[in-house]
Symmetry: C2
Subunit: 178 residues, 2 copies
């Protein structure tokens, strides 16, 4: 399947870009639904070049620093579009270490369990706040704008986070009414 390959291909398709900048994107804007480290990105770029899906131009930064600016080839565009249209079964496991812990923490003292949920709630609220403040930048987006993808994905993240917070509230309620 190799999703990373297509994630990189998709990003290069948007704009000519270096490996370094790809790395930043995987840590920043795209990080909510995909991520990758440098040590995965550089080898994957090499594979993409070998497969002639992307090509690069060496650009001199300053006096001597060589950077490779990647761009997509026609073959790359074709393969990206094929992948975009593919359909897949839903992933039925979304690993969540907090959920794993509370699953086993059932017979913990009630106060400790509540404290655990409260800590998690705070974290989620902070995350939600970061998302909502980021959303303000996208207020006037529409489908043709370049940022439509970013916009709806941010919406998705907010929706998910809110649901998680509601779930935590529910859990606390269940624990308390016992």
């Amino acid at each position: 399947m190799n999703a990373l390959k297509y994630a990189i291909l998709g990003l290069i398709n948007r704009n000519r870009i270096t490996g370094y900048d790809l790395t930043k994107i995987f840590n920043d804007s795209v990080a909510d639904f995909w991520s990758a480290k440098q040590s995965q990105i550089y080898p994957e770029l090499k594979k993409l070049v070998d497969a002639k899906l992307v090509e690069y131009e060496i650009v001199i930064q300053g006096e001597v620093l060589e950077k490779k600016v990647y761009s997509i080839t026609d073959k790359g565009k074709e393969e990206l579009n094929n992948w975009l249209m593919q359909d897949e079964p839903l992933d039925n496991t979304i690993k969540d270490i907090f959920k794993l812990r509370v699953y086993f923490a059932e017979n913990l003292p009630q106060a400790q369990l509540l404290a655990k949920f409260e800590k998690q709630r705070i974290k989620c609220i902070n995350k939600l706040e970061r998302y909502t403040s980021k959303l303000e930048e996208y207020q006037h987006c529409n489908i043709t704008s370049e940022d439509f993808g970013d916009f709806i994905l941010l919406k998705g993240a907010i929706s998910r986070e809110k649901a998680y917070i509601e779930w935590i509230k529910d859990c606390v309620k269940y624990i308390n009414t016992k």
Copy 2:
């Protein structure tokens, strides 16, 4: 970190169990928030035995078939409890292949994009229905009951699935009103 280690330890702590039955649990009841294949489970069980966190008794099934029934040791209980109390930063990437695709599918023909969302919506609704019908079994749970963990985790899955479906509706709306 080795979450699998503690997932297995936690399950063995609940009940004496074989590797085979652990495998089933990771594919069934626990699958929504954690999973593992047989090929991870058996080696992990061996490590747990070596670390004296679990021990096993050989039980004869039928005439000759030997099965290993694992149970947790005191040392195992201690290590499990330590782990349960540990705190961790939120995982900021929840990989989602559908989201990755729609992120790049922005400049796809509108009809195809809508079809993609509709397909996903159907899948999510089916999943949600499986969850809700499963929930009926747990209607009268309370914190002391053995199934409290299963109950709240199922609640979490339902909450997440509903949010996802709402998000899809939102996206469709945004695409259409453009």
